[in-house]
Amino acid sequence: MTQPTEYENLCYNAPGGAVFGATSTDKVGFYGVAPVARSQTASTNTVSTTLGINVSTNSVTITTWGWASQAEINNAIGAVSSMQAAMKSLGLIAGGVDPLITRSSSPFEVADYGGTDGAQFGRTSTDLISFYGATPVARITAVTVDISTATTVSASTNGVATIPWGWSTSSEFAMFNSAISTMQLQMKQLGLIA
């Protein structure tokens, strides 16, 4: 892309990439939250190999899709929970602690210079960047489908007196797990989670 002159860029095209936070214990933050060291949460298992299953394949004619084992659903929940906690504490999504930082009171260094049109870290999708001392990487090329419109269903609504809630189709279940897996991989590669 053409680089608008009004965006500041934090890095200077070093061939090996740019790191934001030299080690996992350095404190970093985004959008004005108090900087934190990398989350100490144990690494979550990767969910890229998660298998889905349809109850109807088990001799009951219903359409709920879910996980094939308790370990798999726990892995998925652990992955989402770890990413959610990390992104909240880093300030990348709402829900963390937002101290009101003013130029006069801030004890932190601030890595943008107040340009009204914003700042970029990494000029293109193939630039190498990382956080917390991880080896810089380019952006993952996989594109995940938006999952905000996924529909869910309870087995009990299909005439079976049970309570698990899952997804309506195998494709919805698959794209959901693909989204989690891609985010988890990129956050691990970037060093944002352990």
């Binding site: 990439g17 740019a18 929940i77 999708s125 985010m183």
Partner: protein, 96 residues
């Protein structure tokens, strides 16, 4: 890790840490994306306490399906993942 000389470090080892974006309304981005303020989406409920259930444990059928215990829990889960996905796409951390 030892910092290879060919990698630049954006921070300067301030003991209290380093911020990228002074407030939630400042615009930032990664990998060349157009800078954006923080996603306005309301905070999602924490999913760390989500409980799960097996269809077979519910007593009605012999199957191995694992899912969520209530509609509220699966909705929280979907919202949490969707919010993170939207934020990471807008920031340029994953492709959109």
């Amino acid at each position: 890790m030892s910092q290879p000389l060919e990698q630049e470090n954006v921070t300067e080892n301030s003991p209290d840490g380093c911020l990228y974006g002074r407030t939630s309304t400042k615009k930032i981005a990664f990998y060349g994306a157009t800078p954006v303020a923080r996603t306005i989406t309301a905070s999602t409920s924490d999913v760390s306490t989500t409980t799960t259930v097996s269809l077979s444990s519910a007593g009605a059928a012999t199957s191995t399906l694992w899912g969520f215990n209530s509609q509220a829990e699966i909705v929280n889960f979907v919202t949490a993942v969707s919010t993170m996905q939207l934020a990471m796409k807008q920031l340029g951390i994953i492709a959109s």
